[in-house]
Amino acid sequence: MSWKTLPVFTFLVLVALLATACGGGPTAAPAATQAPPADTSGGAGDTSPIVETVIVTVQVPAPAGTPQVQIQVAQAPGFGETLAAVQSRGNLICGVNGQLPGFSFLDPEGNYSGFDVDFCRALAAAIFGDPSKVEFRPTTTQERFTVLQTGEIDVLARNTTWTVVRDTELGLNFAATTFYDGQGIMVTADSGFTSLEDLEGGTICVQKGTTTELNLADAMSTAGVTYTPAVFDDVNATYGAYAEGRCDAATSDKSQLVSVAKGLLPDPDNHVVMDLTLSKEPLGPVVRHGDDQWFDIVKWVIFATFAGEEYGISTENAEEILNTTENPEFRRLLGVEGDLGLKLGLTNDFAFNVLNSVGNYGEIYERNLGEGTPTFIPRGLNSLYTEGGLLYSPPFR
């Protein structure tokens, strides 16, 4: 054999090696999703029949509130895939921001904490009964949707705004709004700026690839104010530049501005959020299209935290209420009565696990954004509907 054919054969060997490497990928990589071998789905390899089934089933959507949805009903092929993958993997992979104090933040000891993080833990508690079975994957704004679309993460809890384009074209489902927010503008207290017009000719720091960036352009062109955007890749770069005076103002969701001002900037008292709102920003966990069961799970875990606050069930009294309560609504929520959990593909006590280990919405809020914390944000719209807010859980029935 001539040496010239050497590369051919070595390449073949290499291809074979690569193939085995890829095949070994899921087992080799601890963070990888394990494809459930025996599943309702068409299996990992054949993808083309999936498409056709999707089209069929999309026409018969089950209304979210109807509890009679039966698991045996012919479902889209993705149905149940995510939960099965999560359960066989043994932990939930949750995409978070990772740079926002109060929402998701990595402390020097290497632990994540925050509002978004707690919803991930609540989800883990609902699935495994153990809030610690969750792996946090910090995501950049650029990759956040792609990693969700491609199944690298199971759920994205990363202050993401619910919009039409994202809900449709990007193939995402917004489970529920956990935080009602609006876009604001932060300036230094000594600047004396109070309106958009004051920023004429100024520079505004904004994060790349966000709805914020678009809203800013809209608002400024409507107000007829000329400005220069300084666009950065991540939270740290954006507010780092703002803190150094590279920009006259920084814009983002008001919650983020407060979180950053209080948690990241060296002189927290020298920054004010202007008294104007550029847009509506409903933020909440996101899942991908194609697995309605998973969508339902995330949705109802969030609603369970709302309901928990409404009924006054918290980490402190959950166990006691579970044992003593006669209230049918409480009993259904906590899984003493009925089998709401089973219908979701979980255990009946999923809501109990959430409320007992992570807590209800009010607790999660107080823990991360409440008055005692450095990142205090008044609850405002994020109060129960009974207290003038927008949080309203559909009935657990």
């Binding site: 990888a32 792609t146 740290n236």
Partner: protein, 403 residues
Amino acid sequence: MAEEIAAPRQILPPPAERYTWLGWIQKNLFSTWYNSLLTFITLGLAYALLKPFLTWLLEQANWEVVEVNFRLLMVGQYPPDEIWRIWLLLYLLAAVVGLSWGVWVRGRLALALGLLLAPLLLALLPIATPSARLNLVAMDLVAVAASRMGRLGGPSLRRFAAWSWVIYLVLVILVVRGFALTPEVMPRVPTNLWGGLLLTCLLTVVGIVFSFPLGILLALGRRSSLPAIRAVSVVYIEVIRGVPLVTILFMAAVMVPFFLPSGITIDRVLRAMVGITLFSAAYLAENVRGGLQAVPHGQFEAASALGLSGFKTMTRIILPQALRIVIPVLMGQFIALFKDTTLVVTIGLLELLGIARAVLAQPQYVSYQREVYLFVAAIFWVISYLMSYISQRLESVLGVGER
């Protein structure tokens, strides 16, 4: 063998020129009017640049941020209970380096002492904990012992020393990842906890180990007379060399999951490694091709005349010569690879630079960019410089490029 045969007559160096120090200054700094002018300009420039830097370094710089976050910068979120594995690997590294030194280099006392001094200097740093100091000193002892062993074993250990490197590189990955014998012993450390300098080094090592064979294959493919293979190699090399590494990394991070069947995902550190490897292989291929071209054609003919098969001609005759020629270029390529690993911050991995940026997000250290980035730059500088210095010395020791 060649050295023994061609032991040349000793060529005496020309007599050293001797100057008084004043004479030296006159010769080297003020030989002509414009040289004097240049000297003054340089002095002025150096003063203008160094003075503010030194005043900052000595008076204003506050290294507390580095001290507090030292572990984070070195190993990221790697579990503290498992850090002994890193030490183990460092010990092994010291042993392998010592052994190789004893087998191949010997002598070169100054250089050896310099290498041994490095851990000792690290141990003297105020940041080091007592146990770290102990470990660093012990590492030196291991290295010395290993080099003694290598010396005693001499050339008979050559094969062993070469293989020990290969085994070591495989061990690095295994030990860092853990192989989960039992849940308690060597548990898996998920890649999302790998970070800091550790991740930088891992990315480099993997990039070097895997891009090397791939690069050689591509170089051979480009020189192949089979048009299909040549075309594929050329297209691969030119496309990869034509685009920035960030786009390849971005593709590896964002696009690869699209290419895999649904349900299968590859770990993202692994994906970054694949991206770096594929990128580096294209550059390596061009370097190796240069070496292949430099091997005189007579070598092919001679091998052919001896009746060697094509495969044997390549592996026994041509490649060893070609690779020997390009060792300096390859070392340069590896250093570039080491520096290029910083680009993984664009896909959100927390290697040394990424961790540095994360550290700077801690509210109490927001405005310590100078300290943190200078520290990071210093680490990169020292390691790259060491790599290039050692490669230069080894070239001269091994007589690369001379024959």
